[in-house]
């Protein structure tokens, strides 16, 4: 009659069909019913193919195969993987009612144990020869196990190392990094030039070092990171009421401005401060140079690239009218300016601007300007 695979697929088809009907009637859900009905059709197709090819390799009429097939042989040893799989299931259950991280660990444990269990069970039935079967298992599982184990090991060490580096003060991280580098280099040198050192001693040294690193990382992680000062930004200064966008002075936010990433591949417009002190813009398409107003879409994150062709450090500022801020419990209307950091001569910087209100919301509209250069002004139209 039907082969094992066919029975499974026929059963799955019936289940999907019944589920589609039950879901459709009970939930009145079109999408779910269509999904389940589609699954039923797909499974029916697979079942048909499977019936036709009869599981590809098992001649089901050979009743004797039930006793002589490798699957009938007794497994060589007990396996830890069912237990590990069950442990994973328990961790998943605990994770469902506690923390997401625990749930994820349980899922990973279940997947790993399931994979190992599958590979082992399959290999044990490869032949009647246990040695050969162990070899088969290694051939299948080792290419996955070794890189994964290495990745996990490296990940743990890197993570532990990073916790230590973030726990130490800025100066001590340099010292620690130098000492660690020297120690690793020394040990590697010793192992390479003293082949007489027993492998057990070498392994022990490395294991102790790794253990110390992991323990140190765990302790540092629990104690937390050192206080890291966040670099000031032009937005931050502006929101706190600073007049950075109207100033030619250098603020902390202007330091290392070149670290700002320029999204040059997706700029909506390039605005250039010429050496004649004018602001001109360029957009992709038929807009002639010299046009005195730039149009940018409303509510879009527009990338604007500022190019400074003048001889001095300059920033590009944008006057967006006014905004309402809460001051001592009362609403207050204040100027709304955004700007780039100071850009060195011949430098450039990207600024992403998202504008919610149209320019006709304010009597004077919007305009780009460069603090300290009176002639550098460009109207911005936002429809």
């Amino acid at each position: 009659m039907f082969t094992t695979g066919s029975k499974f697929l026929i059963g799955a088809t019936v289940l999907a069909t019944v589920s589609a009907i039950a879901y459709g009637v009970a939930q009145d859900g079109v999408m779910g019913t269509v999904g389940l009905a589609s699954a039923a059709v797909a499974l029916a197709f697979l079942a048909g193919v499977n019936i036709y090819v009869r599981d590809s390799n098992v001649w089901d009429d050979e009743i004797s195969a039930v006793e002589t097939a490798p699957a009938a042989a007794r497994p060589p040893a007990d396996s830890i993987w069912p237990m590990a799989f069950a442990l994973g299931a328990v961790v998943v259950t605990v994770g469902l009612v506690t923390y997401q991280a625990v749930f994820i660990v349980g899922i990973i444990l279940m997947l790993a144990a399931g994979a190992e269990w599958t590979a082992e069970a399959w290999a044990e039935r490869a032949s009647a020869d246990a040695t050969f079967n162990a070899e088969v298992r290694s051939r299948i599982a080792n290419p996955l196990e070794f890189p994964l184990a290495a990745a996990i090991g490296i990940g743990i060490i890197v993570y532990a190392f990073s916790r230590i580096m973030l726990w130490l003060s800025k100066t001590n991280t340099v010292v620690f990094f130098s000492v660690m580098g020297a120690v690793i280099l020394g040990v590697a040198f010793l192992l390479a030039y003293r082949p007489g050192i027993k492998s057990r001693a070498a392994f022990g040294t490395i294991a102790v070092g790794a253990l110390a690193l992991v323990a140190g990382g765990a302790a540092a992680g629990l104690d937390g990171e050192r206080e890291i000062k966040v670099h000031e930004t032009t937005e931050g200064v502006s929101e706190e009421g600073g007049d950075i966008c109207a100033s030619t002075e250098e603020f902390e936010a202007d330091e290392k401005a070149s670290q700002s990433v320029g999204a040059t591949a997706a700029v909506a417009a390039t605005i250039t401060l010429t050496d004649a002190g004018e602001l001109v813009f360029d957009v992709n398409g038929p807009v002639e140079e010299g046009t005195d107003s730039l149009t940018l879409p409303r509510s879009n994150p527009n990338n604007v690239l500022f190019v400074n062709e003048s001889d001095e450090d300059r920033r590009l500022s944008l006057d967006l009218g006014t905004r309402v801020v809460e001051e001592d419990g009362a609403d207050e209307e204040v100027p709304f300016l955004v700007c780039t950091a100071l850009v060195e001569p011949d430098g450039e910087q990207n600024k992403t601007i998202t504008i919610g209100a149209p320019s006709f919301a304010f009597p004077d509209g919007y305009s780009f300007f460069v603090p300290g250069v009176e002639s550098a002004r460009l109207e911005l139209v936002v429809p």
Binding site: Y52, A263, A265, A266, A268, N303, G356, A357, P383
Partner: protein, 412 residues
């Protein structure tokens, strides 16, 4: 001598072959007949502009080659599956190494791929050219509609003030148009099959595409990147007009606001609009009782930060992401099936009271999410910090709907 079980198995196989062959035949014929569809506004095999023509020409090179290769491969697969399937026979003799065959089977596909690559790369490069475009149109995708805006420019015959519309992009016939596209929320994809290929619209990036139509008409398309619950309801159209008609359309879009006559239902509708709709939808020129401009702030209400500009709502003939017609079926047919020389005039008439498809528009105003799914679960709004995705149900009364429709009918 065959055993009883073998005979029984063969009989079962013979029974299975019958239905399978019939199903395959019906499926094959169905696929073949589908190619004969007449009412197919999104037919890539019916190009209506030079860019789509280039793609079509390439198709006629690639498809026959791919079809022949596919047919050969599938034939061999079928022969092998049937002829060599397991019948319990002994494993045949294993052979290794046929250098001439292996080299031949490597060189032949390589030559075929090179043959396909040369015209393909040439076409891709030609399609990416934007230097010769004469008009800029920005398109921005958001869940689940397209905004179309025309920046101030010298192109498009000159546009002195920005024009903002949605759902329908209007372009002049015979003019290469540069589409600059982006997205305000998730990735969308712009595709007008009869005018050019697809272009993904990605938040934070500006992607370009050329469009050009040979003849006046409406060219349909739809978003082709799954973008959420109403992805299937995110449609768009390109309307191509003769240059004179395009100038007339621009004049329509730049006309000053006309307030409804006092005491009319539309005048009451203006107040209803300000109270119910103006938080998100902009009508240019509309002023409040104090004479201040009514400014929509969709960025404070909607996750994407935008809602369709309704200043000239009735000059376009679709709404809600071009998913429903503003015209009745008869009036729609008058426009969509108009001969090219009459199309512009009929399109520019816009939507009149007699032609308004009030059924769909009323349903939309009554409960927009019921007509076009906006979000499956209201609790999911938490992830958007309380901002809605799409248009919410405003719980308007029937009287308010009457007033709004009267007001909107004058928006042209």
């Amino acid at each position: 001598m065959e055993s009883a079980s073998t005979v029984s198995t063969m009989s079962r196989r013979a029974k299975l072959r019958g239905p399978a062959a019939r199903i395959a035949l019906v499926a094959g014929l169905g696929a073949l007949v589908a190619g004969c569809a007449q009412d197919a506004p999104q037919d890539t095999w019916d190009p209506a502009g030079p860019n789509a023509e280039m793609i079509n020409d390439l198709d006629w090179i690639v498809f026959p080659i791919a079809g022949i290769v596919g047919l050969i491969v599938l034939t061999f697969v079928a022969i092998i599956v049937v002829k060599f399937r397991d019948r319990g026979q002994a494993i045949p003799e294993q052979t290794h190494g046929k250098p001439a065959l292996e080299i031949g089977l490597t060189i032949l596909p390589a030559l075929i791929l090179i043959g396909i690559a040369i015209p393909t790369v040439g076409t891709i490069m030609a399609l990416n050219e934007t230097d010769d475009t004469e008009c800029i149109v920005n398109v921005t995708g958001q869940q689940w509609w397209w905004e179309v805006d025309y920046a101030q420019q010298d192109g498009c015959g000159g546009i002195p003030e920005p024009i903002v519309t949605s759902g329908q992009m209007v372009i002049p016939v015979g003019t290469p148009v540069l589409v600059r596209g982006t997205s305000r929320d998730v990735i969308h994809s712009w595709w007008i099959p009869r005018l050019n290929g697809k272009r993904d619209m990605v938040p934070g990036r500006v992607h370009t595409l050329r469009l050009e139509a040979d003849e006046p008409g409406i060219y349909a398309g739809q978003c082709t990147e799954f973008c959420g619950l109403s992805h299937a309801n995110m449609r768009m159209e390109v309307v191509a007009l003769e240059p004179d008609d395009f100038e007339a359309w621009k004049a329509q879009q730049l006309a000053p606001y006309q307030a409804p006559a006092a005491g009319t239902l539309a005048a009451t509708g203006e107040g209803t609009y300000v109270a119910q709709c103006a938080r998100c939808h902009q009508v240019n020129g509309l002023e409040d009782a104090d004479g201040a401009p009514v400014i929509a702030r969709p960025d404070l209400q909607v996750y994407s930060g935008a809602a369709p500009n309704l200043s000239y709502f009735m000059t376009r003939n679709t709404f809600a992401g071009a998913s429903w017609d503003l015209l009745t079926d008869e009036c729609r047919a008058d426009v969509w099936e108009a001969p090219p020389e009459e199309f512009g005039e009929r399109y520019l008439e816009g939507v009149t009271a007699d032609c308004l498809n009030s059924v769909d528009l009323r349903e939309w105003l009554r409960n927009a999410p019921a007509k076009k799914p906006m979000y499956a679960d209201a609790e999911k709004l938490e992830v958007t910090d309380g901002l809605v995705r799409g248009m919410p149900n405003l719980a308007l009364s029937e009287d308010q709907i009457d007033e709004l429709i009267a007001y909107l009918l004058e928006r042209k």
